[in-house]
């Protein structure tokens, strides 16, 4: 039962290792966007600190968005996605495995590099811990929701822009909750409500989006 899923996970990770530039551009984009903000709005540490949660989260959203187009399009172009429809496993599980690989390649590095950028924006240690926790819960949601957009724009010209239009509005709830969690810690309040809602959202996305994505893939390949 799990052999096909492991084979697929291994394949996607091997491919990412053979082409590290794809994952590195996403992290590079995240770093550059966050680094540009202090240059644009001035060096006042307190002001930067109050902006930090929003800036980091928006940059993370855009970085994930940048990587979404490649989630299915490479497999679509060389025909391996078509063969995946013929694998004797539920397509939803295969899609979920691909999304997990995508998160390992793009979402997790963003979580791991975020403390560095948070220091640059003058966040305190407890706020940095909360930021990482919120990103750890939030980036899987971004990959899961984004996969629907990636599947719906398969084979379309200008798919990347279309994904942004389709998916960015759906990114508002994790953005509000994720940035809100860090804000709460900053103002001495508890972030538990934010984290609980983020967690609930992740569980819901985990169960609902792979099937929606699988349906979209089937329709686009018909």
């Amino acid at each position: 039962m799990f052999r096909p899923l492991l084979a697929l996970l291994r394949r996607d990770l091997t491919l990412a290792l053979r082409r590290p530039q794809d994952a590195l551009t996403v992290v590079g984009f995240f770093v550059v966007v966050v680094a540009l903000f202090p240059l644009g709005i001035g060096p006042d540490p307190e002001f930067l600190r109050s902006l930090a949660p929003g800036v980091l989260w928006v940059a993370a959203l855009l970085a994930v968005m940048l990587s979404l187009e490649r989630l299915f399009s490479d497999d679509y172009r060389d025909g391996t996605l078509e063969q995946m429809l013929l694998v004797p496993e539920p397509l939803g599980l295969l899609v979920l495995t691909k999304i997990f690989a995508h998160w390992l390649i793009t979402g997790l590095p963003l979580v791991l590099i975020s403390p560095l950028l948070a220091v640059q924006l003058n966040l305190r240690p407890d706020e940095i811990v909360m930021l990482m926790l919120a990103l750890l819960l939030g980036t899987p949601i971004l990959s899961l929701i984004g996969a629907i957009g990636a599947a719906l724009t398969l084979g379309l010209r200008g798919g990347g822009v279309l994904i942004a239009l389709l998916i960015l509005p759906l990114y508002a709830p994790p953005l509000i909750l994720g940035a809100g969690a860090v804000d709460a810690v900053m103002h001495g309040a508890s972030a538990q409500a934010h984290l609980s809602l983020l967690g609930a959202m992740m569980v819901f996305a985990l169960f609902a989006t792979p099937w929606a994505t699988a349906a979209a893939v089937r329709i686009m390949l018909d």
Binding site: P4, L8, R10, R11, L15, R18, D78, G79, L86, P88
Partner: protein, 207 residues
Amino acid sequence: MADREFRAVDLAAERGERRLFQHLDFTLSPGQLLQVSGRNGCGKTSLLRILSGLSRPAAGQVYWGDEPIQSVDGGTGSCLGYLGHQNALKEDLTAEENILIAGGLGGARPNREAVLSMLASLGLAGYEDLPVRYLSQGQKRRVALARLLLQPRALLILDEPYAALDVQVIEVLRSAIEAHLARKSMIVITTHQTVDIDGDCRNLHLG
């Protein structure tokens, strides 16, 4: 499983507004080969995609035994293998990795020896460790065929398998097809070349 028939009942396909074919019926029994012929654009590839459950027909139904092809136990992939125009190979992986991963996706245990001997029989000995990117069109096609022939499926659906292959490999493929038929497998094939195959062959002319 191998004793099931493969049936198409009253199939029709459309591309855009145009009817490609309609009222298409056939029954394929174990050990039979169906060769689909016809001009370019007459709907051969559309028919093969419908037969493999990738596309839905405009009308009619495809049956595997008594079950509609979409609701076969374990998915369509458990009964049929499909090779389309695209080779479905990952350019960054080697020929061997491509085949082993495809086998793993199908749920098979990795069997390196079988993969290497199949690649060698298709004239690819010495190319196993090369990323597929560096292979020629014909060699890529051979890797894709090796992958398909290693999957034990009761029905093979081949879209232009001879394209870009040289004479020797066509000969190897021909004997592989004959061996499949002898094992009571079924094959549906489209081709523009005439390759004589020993066995129970049917013809279907579209258009």
